[in-house]
């Protein structure tokens, strides 16, 4: 393969060849064997890529594919033509004349046409009356239509047309080909078979070419490298005796870059440029290792802008907790942890490489721990397991060991409901705090104090009012009033002083409604938590009831299959629901307080091998 290299803009030639290569890969994937597709799995090595790029006849393969494509198109056109001809002649096969015989003499003319069978007698009578020298022959009758040919005097042609149209006559133009229709139909069948065989031969050739698919993919990767190098070089400004390269480097890597460049080219200066107006620097998330898996949640929403917080660390504990509370089944958590732990052990990949699997593994562990507190074990009731796994409370209730709350009774549900609401309030006020902190850091301290932190003052006074001893009730009440007044004044921040109370009042109203609705949205944790338990319970009941219908030796495998299948489906459904709804609580309720998102990912210049 001829590789295009050089400095400057990516040439039209490079883009054209990339498009050609994409075409070949997409096409050959449809014809590739399982072995060839298996060989496509990354990652590859640099040597593999360069070897394939320089030793694969990419152009030859592409050219051959184009030729095959053109021949296929030609064959398809022929097939269509033969098909059309056959459908035209099919109903005229009883005609014994060759179609290339003359259809006109000096005095007569031969016409082909169709006429509804129900009018055929009336039409014949009409024609016999007005064109007595005509000769009518019915060739075929099919689906209420008669296929006829008529020989008439040329002089009577206009009269024939006039008297025949009213009976539903439709003229047919048969092609002037050598041979009668029956022979021509046979010929079309043979020709169509021939072209179909030709297409099959082409497909066989494509299947053979598909064995080169792995090499084409590597060549495509090489082309991508070249393209990226062209792009990087386009950032070079060449002067009389120097070259300037502008680009982004992670802040933590600047010193390393300086050292590396100084070592290889001492006459190099690295300058840090200020960010120009309206320029949006790319973003690279960097978190402690145990938080990295939660970056997949942030990425689902979008990266932060360069001026924003990375919300990953803030959402991580809440996400894990909500995920666990939505599942509330220690058994399911254990299955998730073991399943994804096993996969991670086999793959041996870091959280940066496969964050989602790590997240599900961590989620499984937290679910297991939280599930113990709620006594969720595959939907089993404490009475259904050996007594060694259960305990008896003072009031005689049997619970699982480690269980504190029972979601099967009203008190447990009320607890989960209140927990959901408390977590919601905490989460939302934490979000408001982050919004204030962001303003504070960016120098908008007054706005942070008035617009955001006044909400926390109000929360504090509400808590004081609720939990204050009776002797301090009056103090707590006046403190609360003061906090409300402060909040009204704070929410009116930015308006002229005489309008500030009214704007503030509207702001407080909006704040109250949005807080109430947002907090209630956290009740989905209660709903999902109960749904998991109910589904697991239903699977168990179904297995037992169905097992009762069979003798013991059949019942046991039936029960095992239903339990395994049912719980696996339940785990899959509930894990998806828990993940999505925990994420949604971050995206909509939490992020709306302080986070905008929409940042551009930092994409360094490098050879990608996947």
């Amino acid at each position: 393969m001829e590789i295009i290299e050089g400095v400057g803009e990516p040439s039209v030639e490079v883009n054209f060849r990339k498009a050609e290569l994409d075409f070949a890969i997409t096409l050959l994937k449809k014809f590739a064997s399982q072995d060839a597709l298996h060989a496509l799995r990354p990652p590859f090595t640099v040597e593999q890529v360069t070897h394939a790029a320089f030793h694969t006849d990419v152009c030859g393969i592409i050219d051959r594919l184009h030729v095959l494509g053109e021949e296929d198109a030609q064959a398809e056109r022929e097939i269509q033509q033969q098909h059309h001809l056959r459908s035209l002649l099919q109903l005229w096969q009883s005609l014994s004349y060759s179609l290339d015989e003359p259809r006109e003499t000096e005095t007569t003319i031969l016409l082909f046409g169709m006429i509804p069978l129900k009018h055929i007698l009336s039409w014949r009578k009409d024609i016999d009356t007005h064109c007595p020298q005509s000769d009518i022959h019915i060739v075929h009758e099919y689906a209420g239509v008669a296929y006829v040919y008529v020989i008439i005097w040329k002089a009577d042609h206009a009269l024939f047309e006039e008297h025949t149209k009213k009976w539903g006559w439709t003229s047919v133009e048969l092609p002037q080909l050598p041979g009668n229709p029956r022979a021509l139909v046979q010929e079309t069948i043979l020709k169509e078979k021939l072209f179909l065989r030709k297409k099959e031969t082409h497909n066989e050739e494509r299947r053979q070419l598909a064995s080169e698919l792995p090499n084409l993919l590597l060549a495509q990767m090489y082309m991508r490298w070249i393209d990226e190098r062209h792009r990087a070089r386009s950032s070079l400004d060449e002067g009389w005796g120097s070259v300037v390269l502008t680009g982004w480097v992670p802040r933590s890597r600047v010193a390393f870059l300086e050292r590396t460049i100084q070592a290889s080219a001492p006459a190099t200066a690295i300058l840090r440029l200020p960010i120009v107006k309206d320029e949006e620097p790319p973003v690279l998330l960097k978190n402690p290792r145990w938080i990295t898996p939660f970056q997949s949640v942030t990425n689902l929403y979008g990266l932060p802008l360069s001026s924003e917080f990375d919300p990953t660390a803030m959402l991580a504990p809440f996400f894990a907790l909500y995920f666990a509370l939505c599942l509330t089944d220690a058994g399911y958590g254990l299955v998730l942890a073991l399943l994804f732990g096993g996969v991670l052990l086999k793959l041996r990949k870091s959280p940066e490489e496969i964050p989602l699997l790590w997240l599900l593994f961590l989620g499984g562990i937290v679910t297991f721990l939280i599930g113990i507190l709620f006594g969720g074990w595959f939907g089993l009731l404490p009475e259904q397991v050996p007594s060694v796994f259960t305990k008896q409370t003072i009031d005689g209730t049997v619970l699982f060991r480690g269980q504190i709350w029972n979601l099967g009774v009203e008190s447990g549900i009320t607890f989960l409901q209140n927990l959901s609401l408390v977590l919601g309030i905490t989460h939302l006020f934490f979000g408001i705090f982050l919004a204030g902190l962001h303003k504070w850091i960016h120098g908008k301290r007054a706005a942070a104090l008035w617009q955001d932190f006044t909400s926390h003052v109000l929360l504090g006074t509400v808590l004081f009012f609720v939990f204050a001893p009776e002797s301090l009730t009056d103090v707590a009440q006046y403190t609360l009033y003061a906090a409300i007044a402060l909040l009204v004044w704070g929410k009116g921040y930015g308006a002229v002083w005489y309008l500030r109370p009214f704007i503030g009042l509207l702001g407080v109203l909006n704040f109250a409604v949005s807080m109430l609705s947002n907090v209630l949205s956290y009740l989905r944790i209660l709903a999902l938590g109960l749904v998991t338990g109910a589904l697991a319970l239903a699977v168990n009941q179904l297995a037992i009831e169905l097992g009762k219908l069979f003798p013991l030796f059949i019942a046991i495998p039936v029960i095992v299959v239903i339990l395994l299948g049912g719980h696996l489906v339940s785990i899959a459904l509930n894990t998806l629901g828990s993940f999505i709804h925990s994420g949604r609580l971050q995206f909509i309720e939490f992020f709306s307080q302080f986070f905008e998102g929409g940042g551009r990912a930092f994409s360094p210049f490098r050879r990608t091998l996947h």
């Binding site: 990266l303 009203e410 609705s517 999505i580 909509i588 998102g597 929409g598």
Partner: protein
């Protein structure tokens, strides 16, 4: 589409009547407790209608999402997140139904007998959540579907699309809020 939506709405409105068919309001003695029957009708309505809204909504976003995923399969995570948004309404309705079932145990067991007017009140309690969820989910789905077109052009806009879609849901949440408070305040008055 309009026909199927109308059919779904009609079925949704009629379906809670099964609460009567299942003798929900019949006491052990056999006389009908119309108050309890209406309360159950409300419980069924809340879940039925809000779930129908979610079914329509999720199917609409699913169709748009399938189209986008054929072009850009790497956006699966963002598309599924958007797809599930109109599914929340079903949960809101279900929470109201669950809260009734678990908090009104004394009424359901027959320990506390409620009058017809109290039963109708409990039925009315379900209406804000039922109707706001039924209507908001399909409209939210339309916003999500339009947002998926935005994602097709620029996947960095996922956050904004989610925010826009959430604005529609605000009104379902308001309906949920009112039903929630009505249910709790009525409980306080009825059961103490």
């Amino acid at each position: 589409m309009r026909t199927s939506t109308s059919l779904a709405l009609t079925l949704g409105l009629l379906a809670p009547l099964t609460a009567f068919a299942q003798n929900a309001g019949t006491t052990m003695a056999g006389s009908i407790q119309w108050g309890l029957a209406f309360a159950f009708l409300g419980v069924a309505t809340a879940t039925f209608l809000s779930c129908i809204g979610s079914i329509i909504g999720v199917s609409l976003t699913g169709q748009a999402g399938a189209g986008l995923l054929t072009e850009k399969p790497e956006l699966a995570g963002k598309v599924i997140t958007l797809m599930v948004l109109p599914g929340s309404q079903g949960l809101y309705g279900m929470v109201i139904s669950l809260l009734f079932i678990f908090n009104y145990g004394a009424v359901i067991n027959g320990d506390v007998v409620i009058s017809l007017s109290q039963g109708i009140t409990l039925f009315v309690v379900s209406l804000p959540v039922a109707f706001t969820c039924l209507t908001s989910a399909p409209y939210q789905a339309k916003v999500c579907a339009a947002g998926m077109h935005m994602l097709a052009k620029d996947d960095k806009l996922a956050g904004r699309v989610i925010t826009m879609a959430a604005l529609v849901e605000t009104y379902a949440l308001l309906g949920f809020l009112i039903s929630f408070f009505m249910l709790n305040s009525f409980k306080a008055g009825l059961l103490g």
